[in-house]
């Protein structure tokens, strides 16, 4: 336990120091991994833990992005952490409304209704030009942040933004990690496993699912807020179908059975995509092919492939004698 805590602290420190080994271009990729990673983890709270496959999860991601954009446009220099919290609340509100209609449904019907809502929000973002500026996108201008120590974090500075984003993402991951270990988080598992039986044990299925849906939406909005702050622009693309399905792929790619699986999947996906894009213009074809292979042969994702008892580990152990194995 002590050793595990020490390892976690060391890993976190290392994460804060990562930027010193990266050039600006790579640092920007690292930041992208941070917020998309959070997005994928929050998606997995819904899918992997609670058994609800949303194809419209980009909705609240986009809402978070538009929320901070509008906050800075109309309310002035609200500090980024506060703006992110407000964006999260906007995401929670939208998640609550969408969830209210969707979580009554199961399986494919649930997925399709989430998709419908996300298409609806996409249309709103596209057409309500007075507020969202349509497909030109809304410019997002996060103000510089002065820390209590007097240190100023410049939002245009990738290094500073990385630290800020890392802090926000770590807090959210901690909240999510904690959540699934509480009785309510356990109830989410019951929803995935057998919601009907859970009802006969006294669990309110609708209420539980709605809370989980709202919570996951809130975290997705935080990810979207960071995304918009970093890109300095949010356009309808943030809540379209492609963003909604990309997160599904990132989560599946990493493995939905482990808490950080989707995060690893995101990192692998983004790095792979960047590398492929440099190598061939047909990169979407390669990614698509990979997705098909994943779905057919590796349900457990990268975590299942490299994790404990996975095929890679078994392969590495081939040389050991059975005696060693049994120890």
């Amino acid at each position: 336990m002590m050793r595990r805590n020490a390892l976690i602290v060391a890993a976190i420190l290392l994460l804060y120091l990562v930027p010193f080994g990266l050039d600006t271009l790579r640092l920007r990729v690292a930041i992208e991994i941070l917020y998309f990673g959070l997005f994928a983890v929050s998606f997995n709270l819904l899918f992997g833990y609670s058994g609800m496959l949303s194809f419209g999860f980009a909705s609240t991601f986009g809402v978070g992005g538009y929320a901070v954009g509008l906050i800075w446009k109309h309310l002035g220099a609200v500090p980024l952490p506060l703006a992110v919290v407000m964006g999260a609340m906007a995401g929670a509100a939208v998640g609550l409304v969408i969830g209210f209609f969707c979580v009554r449904l199961r399986g494919t019907y649930f997925s399709l209704l989430t998709l419908a809502f996300s298409q609806f929000l996409f249309a709103v973002a596209l057409k309500w030009r007075d507020v969202t500026r349509g497909d030109d996108g809304l410019t997002v201008i996060p103000p510089d942040l002065t820390l209590p120590s007097g240190f100023v974090l410049h939002m245009g500075n990738a290094l500073h933004f990385y630290w800020l984003a890392l802090t926000v993402v770590l807090v959210c991951l901690w909240l999510a990690w904690r959540f699934i270990r509480t009785p309510l988080g356990n109830a989410a598992l019951l929803m995935r496993e057998n919601d009907e039986r859970a009802a006969f044990l006294g669990y309110n299925v609708f209420g539980t699912k709605l809370i989980v849906f709202t919570f996951a939406s809130t975290l997705a909005a935080v990810a979207g807020a960071l995304f918009a702050s970093f890109q300095r622009l949010v356009s309808p693309g943030a809540l379209d179908l492609q963003t909604g399905t990309e997160v599904v792929f990132m989560a599946l790619f990493g493995g939905t059975g482990a808490f950080l699986g989707p995060f690893l999947g995101t990192a692998a996906y983004i790095l792979l995509q960047n590398w492929l894009a440099k190598t061939t213009e047909h990169w979407p074809f390669v990614i698509g092919f990979l997705f098909v292979v994943m779905i057919l042969f590796m349900h457990t994702g990268l975590v299942g492939l490299f994790g404990r008892g996975g095929p890679v580990q078994r392969l590495l152990r081939l040389n050991r004698t059975p005696v060693e194995e049994s120890r």
Partner: protein, 253 residues
């Protein structure tokens, strides 16, 4: 004294097919009550109506002071009605411990607790262990439900039902598919967990019925044919003709 469970003139049909046509039933507190009847008599439908899975077309379900007709399952469960299922209905990928603990959490009203860590709630853990001990499932505590043997899954089914400490326990064919030895074990188990509670069970195994039940009701094509103590039911000519005498020997008698 009010009855623990009272059904008044329950009617139900499935798209026109009459399944229950005016069922009355009174179960006294602390009684072990068995409902028997041929396949298709409507026994499971009756259970589904009592536990909130179905809303009757007509009639009332009274649980003590409460009218629970058509109430949602989680409300009925919270009032102290626990039910098991004829077809195994557990949480496949959760371990025995996790499953039973979920029921304990519910009983303690901590379902919406989003702050305390479940693993650190010692009293929840202790209570879960007690239930596992009572049902002799302790040595399987870390086995996922879908990796249990069929007999063990039946035990888990009962463990989940009683872990919420219901006042009224509804068991839907608790010994379905068990062999003689397992059935014998199940009888002891059911007796233990229903001590001081009200028990209503649907059961096909006449040994189980006549060993455990204080009262027996016979459901025959949508109506209660008879209701009374085991001896009376065994002697009842109508019951023999409809059910006992024809297909089943009166085992245990």
């Amino acid at each position: 004294m009010t009855s623990a469970l009272e059904l008044r003139d329950i009617h139900h049909d499935f798209s026109g097919l009459q399944v229950l046509t005016g069922v009355d039933l009174t179960v006294a507190p602390g009684e072990r009550h068995a409902i028997i009847g041929p396949n298709g008599a409507g026994k499971s439908t009756l259970f589904n109506i009592v536990s909130g899975r179905l809303r009757p077309r007509k009639g009332r379900v009274l649980y003590g002071e409460h009218d629970i007709t058509g109430a949602p399952p989680h409300r009925i469960a919270r009032l102290g009605v626990g039910r098991s299922f004829q077809i195994i209905n557990t949480f496949p990928r959760l371990t025995v411990y996790q499953s039973v603990r979920s029921a304990v959490v519910s009983r303690r009203g901590m379902r919406l607790d989003a702050w305390r860590l479940l693993d650190r709630l010692d009293d929840v853990g202790r209570e879960t262990t007690e239930v596992l001990d009572l049902l002799e499932l302790s040595d399987r505590r870390d086995t996922p439900a879908n990796a249990l043997s069929y007999g063990e899954q039946r035990e888990l089914e009962i463990a989940l039902t009683v872990a919420v400490r219901p006042e009224l326990i509804l068991l839907d064919e608790p010994t379905a598919g068990l062999n003689a030895e397992e059935t014998h074990k199940a009888i002891g188990l059911i007796r233990r967990v229903s001590e001081g509670k009200t028990l209503v069970m649907v059961e096909h195994d006449m040994e189980v019925v006549f060993t455990l039940a204080d009262r027996i009701s016979v459901l025959h094509y949508g109506k209660m044919l008879a209701s009374g103590p085991p001896d009376e039911i065994r002697r009842n000519a109508e019951v023999q003709r409809a059910y006992l005498g024809t297909k089943h020997s009166v085992a245990g008698g």
